[in-house]
């Protein structure tokens, strides 16, 4: 569906995207992951036809974004990072305008607006002025806009940015629902979010592709060296004996806090050791009052991916 080949984008002397290549197959939900300034937005903007690459080629559905831009844009729904809408317009009015602009036939405009509104749960606010809506509703209006012309490809730049946890959950469910009918490419700098919605991730760092892998592989990366904290009602020695096998190199600290013991260790393998901890506690009849995994942060994964070094000044050939 999307094929990016050796794409580079320079702004003046700054290279925002550097020789990037990846593909997204039809029906996939792919997350573009990276810290701020990794080139996520620039990449998505180039696919959406807003920016032109300095070098390389991008095709969407076999059409060149550079040469056949209008046709590509007709088949693409793009939601920029900050849902920017015309505040003076009413929601339904705005969606009808956008539908017409994106070539939805006149007699279908009303139906498509109603369907997109239903899908995004903005039916109740269709007659409200956009400027008076909450951030969450505005985000959903922007999403309804990207869907209204039934595009094959959806490009969503940080779709949950600035939403509260409840709204983030709703947005996530929405995106998962979209996956049934569209190919979705979304960006995020929040790992768990991508883990929950995407089947595959593309990790960018400083404009370069660091990894493109199924989300399961990413989960394994996250588990690797993840720090586990468990609190059980048992003596520290017994806890140490029971859990040492799960810890990397058998290193484990067990501190007693009253009649509770807090065990801390790093996971040994790629598997999440938490179920094993819970099972051990159950087998021994210990009460378990806390069990958590401090997963590696995105930064730590980047460090791991670049061989333990911050990817500064990599020698370019």
């Amino acid at each position: 569906m999307v094929r990016i080949e050796h794409v580079t984008k320079r702004f003046g002397g700054i290279t925002a995207v550097d020789d990037l290549s990846f593909e997204v197959a039809r029906g996939e939900v792919v997350g573009v992951l990276g810290p701020n300034g990794a080139g996520k937005t620039t990449t998505l903007r180039m696919i959406a036809g807003y920016l032109r690459p300095t070098g390389g080629t991008i095709t969407v559905g076999g059409r060149s974004v550079q040469d056949d831009s209008i046709e590509v844009r007709r088949r693409t729904g793009y939601m920029p990072e900050h849902a920017a809408l015309y505040p003076e317009m009413r929601v339904a009015e705005y969606l009808r305008y956008r539908a017409a602009l994106k070539g939805v036939p006149v007699r279908r405009v009303r139906r498509r607006v109603a369907e997109a509104a239903e899908q995004c749960g903005i039916g109740p606010v269709l007659n409200r002025t956009i400027g008076h809506l909450s951030k969450g509703y505005r985000q959903r209006v922007a999403l309804a806009d990207t869907l209204v012309h039934e595009p094959e490809l959806l490009i969503l730049d940080e779709p949950t940015l600035g939403l509260d946890p409840n709204q983030i959950r709703q947005a996530r469910d929405l995106v998962r629902g979209l996956a049934e009918r569209h190919t979705v490419l979304l960006s995020s700098h929040i790992l768990p979010e991508v883990e929950m919605t995407c089947s595959r991730v593309i990790i960018l760092h400083r404009g370069r592709l660091l990894a493109a892998e199924p989300v399961r592989a990413l989960a394994r990366r996250m588990n690797r060296n993840a720090r586990i904290v468990a609190q059980v009602r048992a003596p520290p020695d017994a806890v140490r004996d029971e859990l040492a096998a799960l810890a990397a190199g058998g290193r484990l600290t067990a501190e007693s806090a009253g009649e509770w013991t807090e065990a801390r260790f790093e996971a040994a393998g790629d598997e999440d050791p938490r179920p094993a901890v819970a099972a051990a506690a159950a087998r021994r009849g210990w009460d378990l009052r806390e069990l958590r995994r401090d997963a590696q942060s995105l930064e730590e994964i980047f460090l791991a991916l670049t061989g333990g070094q911050a990817p500064h000044g990599e020698a370019a050939p």
Partner: protein, 247 residues
Amino acid sequence: MRTFLVLWRRELLAYALSPTAYLVMVLFLAVTGAGFWILVAALAAGPGAAAGATELLGWVFLLTLLVAAPLLTMRLFAEERRSGTFETLMTAPVRDVEVVLAKYAGAVTFFAVMLLPTLAYGPLLRAAAAIPPPADPAAMAGVYAGALGVGAFLLAIGLLASALTRSQIAAGLLAFAAISLFLLGGLLPYVWHTATADRIGAYLSPVAHMADLSSGVFDTRPAAFYAISTAWVLFATVRVLESRRWR
């Protein structure tokens, strides 16, 4: 074509919902109305004052436009760029030229609507006067076409200024400066009393062009001048939009 119409409608709606647009319209009518009143008063005083008074009304009209054109156009691109709606707009299947022409058509349409109430001046005068003055419909049509043409050119300058920056104020000031420079060209004969200055002034002065039209003279040179200049400025605006993709 449908894309253009959809965009144009949205521009008209934006004017209809903009307090600034109404304010500009009211001020424009107040100032040109005052100018018209002065003209009538001068004409009533005697035929000798008439020539100077017509010119005065021409300048009043242009000075209002000097302020009105930047105010009506500074928002057009600058605001979309600042708020980010520009990105949503330009990733829809629209051509740069369609966006420029639709925004421009919206501004010119609003300007034409702004001129409409002044059509009442003639009938009002005739109704109020003891001896109805003679009316020349052709000259009237000529003057309105001229006013629309001059206005359309100044609005194009404002549109270009708006495409150059994401600050509305900067766009407004830029348009104001550019239009001032253009109007100064028409003032040259007042400063230097030479044949060259007169020639340049005759080419550039919208007041002279409108005065010709009001006396029933249609000169193709100013018509061509405004048409070509407007087309050129709009073309430059399209190029400015295109250049954004490369930056």
